[in-house]
Amino acid sequence: MNTIQLYFKFVAICIRGQMQYRLSFFFQSLGHFLTTVSEFFVVWILFDRFHQIGTWQFAEVAVFYGLVGISFSIADSISTGFERFGPMVRDGSFDRFLLRPRGLVLQIAGSDFAPKRIGRFLQALVVFCWGFIQLEIDVTIWRSGLVAMIILSNVVLFTSLFLVQATISIWTIESLEAMNSLTYGGSQAATYPMAIYSDWIKKFFTYIVPLTCCSYFPVVALLGRLDPLGTSFFFQVVSPLFAIPFALAAGLFWRIGVRHYTSTGS
């Protein structure tokens, strides 16, 4: 059975396992849904009062919000296994994966899956579509391709960040909250067009973690408007590709982490 098939089999098992606890699943999803809705409600209230943020309109922010929400919820669901990785390292259950003739990342990703993120996914989808319609943007083939690219590159980016977070947990027992500022913090930041932030944030999220490349510049191209940061259309469309070197670097870091783990034992 090849890697992809095996991953989906793992996911099916996780979902079935969670379905056993139906009421808890319901409440989890409800709580999650209320939280995400209230977050967007806050954005709506603020726009109702201030009418715009920087040079951006509400519907434009809705597009940013929706795309990041869709991507992040997918990445978060895939990476639930990575978030549970720390305790696995502590109690030695990670050894079980090392004893199997399969990729470690596959097994960790398949060890958990949280369908409760579907609340955020659906809400973000609705918000995105609403914004798109409000702005009366034509749905063309190249735009659809760009949307797919944006979502894919963001998923790759966030999943790589979760992988880095899991790798760090190999070295330290202690909480990895600093990484949360990049994953959850990054996704919160990206829900607004990142042009509104001060320079050091923009530089950090372009050159160190290419978040702007995946969730700001290409969205500007999608919206077909002028970029207050002054980038060209070509750059905007090509920039999601920067997620690739980042993912490769994350993979390399992971390898180093595994080597450290096998040399210190548990």
Binding site: M1, L99, R100, P101, T262
Partner: protein, 330 residues
């Protein structure tokens, strides 16, 4: 060609020291002290196909470290190791397809799933071909008597049955080598005997090489043709159980039941270990005093009701060795 070959294996660990004193915690913010422990120190041995080897040693001797290195989970500080021609930690995925492992304290199965679904998943993970899987599965279920427990979720199984399922799971991909780390720990007597029986059958009928680490000497006594004792990171004994007995102490125990209460007396060629009113226990060396002679002497001097001759428990021998590692060097 040996199946497993270990040469000069060493492993050192760095352990952080806990800060002491009232201000230790504050000092701990700025610097940490470490010390080095040598878990393994130049260990070497080799194992042929089909052997059933016991691997014992006091706590902290390096048993688990050895098993972890052999499985590929841990990389050594120095030395080489070859299992079926592969280096466990450098060629992990290929190596791991050749071994099965059962760790007493941890599970390889999926906690919430029925046993048979765990087996299914493992067959996918190990890429076992369908028909081969069917045959192996049937054989293992038969040998380990698992038929009635296949649809039970693993979390509902008692420890005894869980260990049997773990054993089956470890062998689904028909590995030529099996590592068992404390498999009988926590089991009741019936389960222990059953598990030992299964391991013996697997070794004899299917030719699986087994390396067994345990603290239970009855496991060793009933299963192992070869015994390795490891202490302080190195092997201090490697041979059969009989050789061990002979090299530590050849003495036997003779327990005598008396018809009536008798005062203690000396018997030539034997020392008195214990004397109660109706029972006497002697210790003697059969190389010096022939057993039939001793029995005759005792029968002549004491009102004999019944007697038995025993070797000392391996448990005792091992305990003596743990206490005094020089015992074997003499």
């Amino acid at each position: 060609m040996s199946q497993i070959r270990v040469e000069n294996l060493s492993k050192r660990f760095r352990v952080a020291e806990r800060p002491s004193g009232r201000w230790g915690s504050v000092r701990g913010i700025f610097s940490r002290q470490y010390r080095e422990i040598a878990a393994l120190d130049g260990l070497s041995f080799s194992i042929e196909p089909g052997e059933l080897v016991g691997y014992v040693g006091p706590n902290g001797a390096g048993k688990s470290t050895t098993i972890k290195i052999l499985s590929g989970i841990l990389t050594p500080s120095s030395g080489t190791c070859e299992v079926l021609g592969l280096c466990p930690w450098k060629q992990r995925r290929q190596h791991v397809a050749n071994i099965g492992a059962v760790f007493g304290q941890r599970t390889q199965l999926w906690w919430d799933l029925p046993v048979e679904e765990s087996f299914e998943l493992l067959s996918d993970i190990y890429r076992i071909e369908r028909s081969r899987y069917g045959r192996t599965r049937r054989a293992l279920i038969e040998i380990l008597d698992l038929e009635d427990h296949l649809s039970t979720p693993v979390r509902q199984l008692s420890l005894g049955w869980r260990m049997r399922c773990e054993l089956a799971a470890a062998l689904l991909h028909e590995p030529p080598i099996l590592f068992l780390d404390e498999p009988t720990i926590g089991l009741d007597s019936v389960s222990k005997l059953a598990l030992r029986d299964h391991i013996r059958r697997l070794n004899q009928e299917r030719g699986v090489t087994v390396i067994l680490t345990t603290h239970d000497m009855d496991d060793i006594a009933s299963l192992c043709s070869r015994l390795m004792i490891i202490a302080e990171g190195n092997s201090i004994f490697d041979g059969s159980v009989e050789e061990l007995r002979r090299s530590v102490s050849n003495n036997r125990r003779l327990t005598v039941d008396l018809k009536r209460a008798t005062d203690p007396i000396d018997i030539e060629g034997a020392t008195v270990v214990e004397w109660q009113s109706h029972q006497a226990i002697f210790e003697y060396n059969p190389d010096i005093t022939a057993t039939p002679e001793l029995i005759q002497r005792i029968a002549a001097l004491l009102p004999l009701q019944d007697l038995k001759v025993e070797n000392p428990e391996i448990e005792e021998i091992i305990a003596r060795i743990y206490r005094d590692k020089d015992l074997l060097r003499s």
